[in-house]
Symmetry: none
Subunit: 133 residues, 4 copies
DNA sequence: GTGGTCTAGACCACT
DNA sequence: GTGGTCTAGACCACG
């Protein structure tokens, strides 16, 4: 049973919130390859959102290669071998890193703090991954 | 003279990019209370963007209390640094760091690559700041 | 002015028909990098289909890297540098090639005919590409 | 003994894959008029798919006049080859070829690669056919 | 039961 | 004006 929380006033699109939380569960090992996700109808009822919003979240995740939907069967986590080129991957990560760094700088946070936080987040993913197996 | 760079392909709204970079200059000390900002007409011409986009950026900044427009005189900085508490700062950074880490995990990028990219981006900001002063 | 024809009884999803025809126009050089596509509202009215169906076609094309949509400006053809790995590309093409070959075999079409048809289609794309430049 | 292979990841509906491969065997002469097909129960067990999926494949084939089910006796082939005219055949193949070429263009794959892949797939079908006889 | 597509219509964000 | 998101509800395809 997946615990996803939606904040309709956050300004972040609802389908994005769904995607992000599923990705986080995957990174932290609570969801792994082969696991079945809640059905579109079920999740939409649980979250009190429109089914098509869930459809959008799921199909974006499918585009990203994170999940796979099978007609009449359901939606499943894939063992994603990335189909992105190295340069595309680097570029995407660099954009996120820059966002973090600029925000930190703007707030006056020292580089050490940024590195510490990133390390901690990396560890959390690693640790949970080990637990899951 | 303010060096603002707009990337129309970044996915971030243009008015947001303008705001962020002005806030960034305020945080890094290049702009401080009392300094005058370029006029709407001037900035829109320099950046080749729509004047109404600059209007939106300025009015959001004014709403946030960061700048003040004085009729017929121009737009001026009213405060020079962020007022966030330490814990709020940490929380905001952690959100961005988590996004980066989760995305990296998704793409199968190793932790080393993430750390390397963050370090590189941190260095780059430092360099720019030194040049600016 | 783009001439797109929709056959609602073909069994092929409408958004797919839109995508395929735009891709074909790109391949044949009638649309090239930088060109603006009809707006969502305009195209939906022209084709007498729902705007969200056009949205779906456009956003799938954007995922494929073929087009780019800019908030408040419109939708434009990109100069797509592929972000797919070589193996993913080969795999996708092989699937289509297999479909063609199996269908041909099923119909009793000789290999020569298949090769001839593929060459002709390749030529058509090539020729029009040269004309466009 | 029919060798049918199902790929649940191909995106093609399972019942379609079953139909296509039976038609393929008919075209290649491995199945001819009067031959008996495996029972629904047997085939569904062999392929590890749902019996209703086999029912759907068989009934579509029956509807198309390719097979005939005789109550209590089994399912039999009624015709052994495609009845398409040359021009219809050419048209169908051209549609598939165009799809392949357009997609290749989209991904920036050179014409040579397309030709190479088609040749390889043609060869592979030939080999299978020879082995079957 | 499952997911896939489409419609009609609304509101928001951006330029 | 542009695209982006969301809702409500329908029908079809698949297993």
């Amino acid at each position: 049973m997946l615990h996803i929380q939606i904040d309709p006033h956050s300004g972040i699109p609802v389908y994005r919130q769904v995607m992000d939380q599923i990705k986080y569960y995957m990174a932290s090992g609570l969801l792994s390859a082969g696991d079945q996700l809640p059905s579109i109808r079920e999740l939409s009822k649980t979250l009190s959102i429109n089914p098509t919003t869930v459809v959008k979240a799921y199909s974006e995740l499918e585009h990203a290669g994170a999940i796979e939907s099978r007609q009449g069967k359901g939606v499943f986590i894939t063992q994603s071998k990335s189909t992105l080129t190295n340069s595309a991957r680097e570029k995407a990560l660099r954009r996120l890193a820059r966002q973090l760094v600029v925000e930190a700088n703007q707030m006056g946070a020292p580089p050490d703090q940024v590195m510490r936080i990133v390390e901690e987040e990396l560890d959390q993913v690693q640790i949970k991954e080990r637990q899951g197996r």
